[in-house]
């Protein structure tokens, strides 16, 4: 535990020991404290936040516990989103289930259908909680048929990041970033520097991750799956191989053919390293990573909206990240305590802290007015761009994001399609295959979960 929350961490440890007697074998809880702890309602919180965000999260929890002595939230790291979800699937509905579980955005449909969770809408209604104070473009994602199933927590969107120094060197205007596909292509062309066979600097790059592809589709107002992105019913077919998807693939393919597109694989850190070391001049990243990039680059970093085809009016971006869910196999008392904690998380102060510490959006826009945030923006004016992009988003079924249960699998197929594209497969073939496989996954899921 870090210096300023050592006490809290120690508390957590002991409280947990006391509450899970049946498995406890450490037996080091001190009696005095244990009595006090017995009165506090325990809320286990499974999360997937490692590194810096974990630290920020634990500080917030510690503050909450201090302010609410009757509640004791215990944050427990459970690995990556996939791992956490796997584990939750195994214990869901049992006494081993936590009170709160954090799940990535694409697990939303699965969570809703799992039967292990309690929609937060119940508490919103009971409590007359005003959801309108939250960022609409975020809540939209987690609202299904108007009901909020989970509480948004860490949210991010993709942005275009570019090397201003390189722009100037290439004779481009560093202050007005390219926006349309042809602008990007032109800029990329100019930014590409070759030294014999080896490319020293690519013009444009994109992480091989389905998320960016989805965003490029959504911003064209197009859907990922039918039934209006799965928002108006159970989707049966993927549609991302239609016009919009093809646009994206063709866009990437053309640059790749031209040699101005740099492929740096599917690893977040790889592509960032490439950018920071000048191997690529533009790339798409998560808004949550922006500040670290600025910190770690020794050139001027520009942040801009994501690209769109020349003839399409961009609708903005859909949210990424994760939300937190209330489970249904715990006491109502615990649920209530969990709800208290969720509410606490949405307060502007907390969100300001969270936003500044991690780079994730504040789900409560009021947070942006906090002095803490304002100071940060002065230091990193680029951060403002990420917020603006989200706020500028037109809320449609497209930018709400797709809602399918087999999203993780589908993303893999998209990644494979991208990789094949870069290896020379025709855009249409690559896309069609991914769609076909997604369709099959949806079909199997539907068959097996009647």
């Amino acid at each position: 535990a870090c210096n300023n929350d050592t006490g809290a961490a120690a508390d957590n440890e002991e409280e947990d020991t006391a509450s899970t007697e049946e498995q406890s074998n450490t037996g080091n809880a001190e009696t005095g404290e244990a009595v006090a702890d017995d009165e506090a309602t325990e809320v286990t919180f499974w999360h997937a936040m490692g590194g810096g965000p974990q630290k920020a999260l634990e500080e917030i929890v510690a503050d909450f516990n201090e302010k609410n002595p009757e509640i004791n939230v215990v944050p427990q790291f459970q690995g990556t989103y996939d791992e956490a979800l796997t584990k939750f699937r195994s214990v869901g509905g049992s006494k081993d289930a936590p009170a709160i579980v954090q799940t990535y955005e694409i697990g939303t449909r699965y969570m809703i259908e799992s039967g292990f969770i309690e929609p937060v809408q119940t508490f919103i209604d009971n409590d007359d909680y005003d959801t309108s104070q939250l960022e609409e473009n975020i809540t939209n994602y987690y609202a299904v048929d108007g009901d909020m199933y989970s509480m948004p927590f860490n949210s991010s969107t993709p942005v275009l990041i570019y090397n201003k120094d390189a722009f100037e060197e290439a004779g481009l205007d560093a202050e007005s970033a390219p926006r349309t596909y042809s602008e990007i292509k032109n800029a990329a062309e100019k930014l590409t520097k070759k030294d014999g066979g080896n490319v020293e600097q690519y013009g444009f790059s994109m992480l091989n991750n389905g998320w960016f592809f989805e965003q490029l589709v959504y911003t064209q107002g197009a859907y990922y799956v039918n039934e209006e992105n799965g928002r108006s019913g159970d989707p049966a077919k993927a549609v991302f191989n239609e016009e919009a998807g093809k646009n994206v693939f063709t866009f990437l393919d053309e640059m790749n053919q031209a040699g101005s597109f740099g492929n740096f694989g599917s690893n977040w850190d790889d592509i960032r390293a490439a950018f920071q070391s000048g191997k690529t001049a533009m790339y798409m990243d998560s808004s949550a990573g922006v500040r670290d990039i600025i910190d770690n680059s020794d050139f001027e970093v520009g942040v801009a909206y994501i690209p769109h085809p020349d003839d399409v009016e961009p609708e903005g971006v859909a949210i990424g990240g994760a939300s937190i869910w209330m489970t249904n196999s715990i006491d109502t008392e615990q649920q209530q305590a969990a709800w208290e904690f969720m509410k606490y998380l949405t307060t502007p102060e907390v969100q300001a802290e969270w936003h500044v510490e991690t780079g994730y959006f504040a789900i409560n826009p009021d947070a942006y007015e906090e002095a803490l945030v304002q100071e940060e923006y002065e230091k990193y004016p680029q951060l403002q761009v990420t917020v603006n992009q989200l706020e500028d988003t037109t809320s449609t079924k497209a930018t709400q994001g797709a809602l399918i249960s087999v999203f993780p699998e589908s993303r893999q197929h998209v990644v494979t399609a991208l990789e094949k594209l870069y290896q020379g497969t025709a855009p249409k073939d690559a896309l069609d295959e991914a769609v076909e496989q997604t369709d099959r996954a949806i079909e199997i899921a539907n068959r097996s979960n009647q």
Binding site: E13, Q23, T44, G50, G51, G52, F77, S90, S94, S297
Partner: protein
Amino acid sequence: MRMRKRITLYILLILSSIILFFPTVYALMVSFMNGREVLSGAVLPSSFSLDNYKKAFESLPLLSYLWNSLVISAAVMAGQLIVSSLAAFAFVFIKFKGRNALFFLFISTMMVPWEATMIPNFVTIQELGWINSYFGLTVPFFALAFGTFLLRQHFKTIPKELEEASQVAGLSRFQFFYKVVLPVSKTSLVTLGIYGFLTTWNMYLWPLLVTNDETVRTVQIALKQMQTKEVSTDWGVVMAGVIIVVIPTLLLLFAGQKQLQKGLTQGALK
């Protein structure tokens, strides 16, 4: 040994060491770098500051994680040594019907991918109430076909004469096992011990599944906890973590090495 052979050997040894050890050294170097250096592709850090190590220790209760890892690894190691050597002994020194078939059945357990059995096993552990306890982390690994196989191969090279001499001396089978077979097989036992310890030490997914909080969690989880995806990972800290985690295992290897160095069965008979 002649000079030329000696020099050739040293050259080979040193070259191999450099190639093999480079990644580890590189990790050590990275552990001294700050984020910017790491991502700029430097090989040598600008300064050997211990900041990353401090951060690694600050951000997580590494010591308690290390302790857990130690306890669990040692327990698994002991369990495996006992269970595997008993089984291997039976396969080599007791003749019974169906011995080969049974041995193959044992071997077949190695072919079952662990990933395929993980969920049912998780459920089993859950039903045993062993979630978040040392039991859940250790007991499933006590039986090890691999270890049985390894020891069987070694036991088979033990000269028959030793068994005979022991029988004549009046040793019971079990006495022969622990008074002769085990001491004579020290090399293999040490190897297996190291293997058991390290694989347990390096386990990640299973401990993550069956533990909920830091009371019994292991260092590998801590390592993973230092990494992030959307937000930049602080590689310097991660590598510092890697180094911290690797040091105990290297020490173990070194100690085991000393044991292994004493080649044993030579000159056993005449």
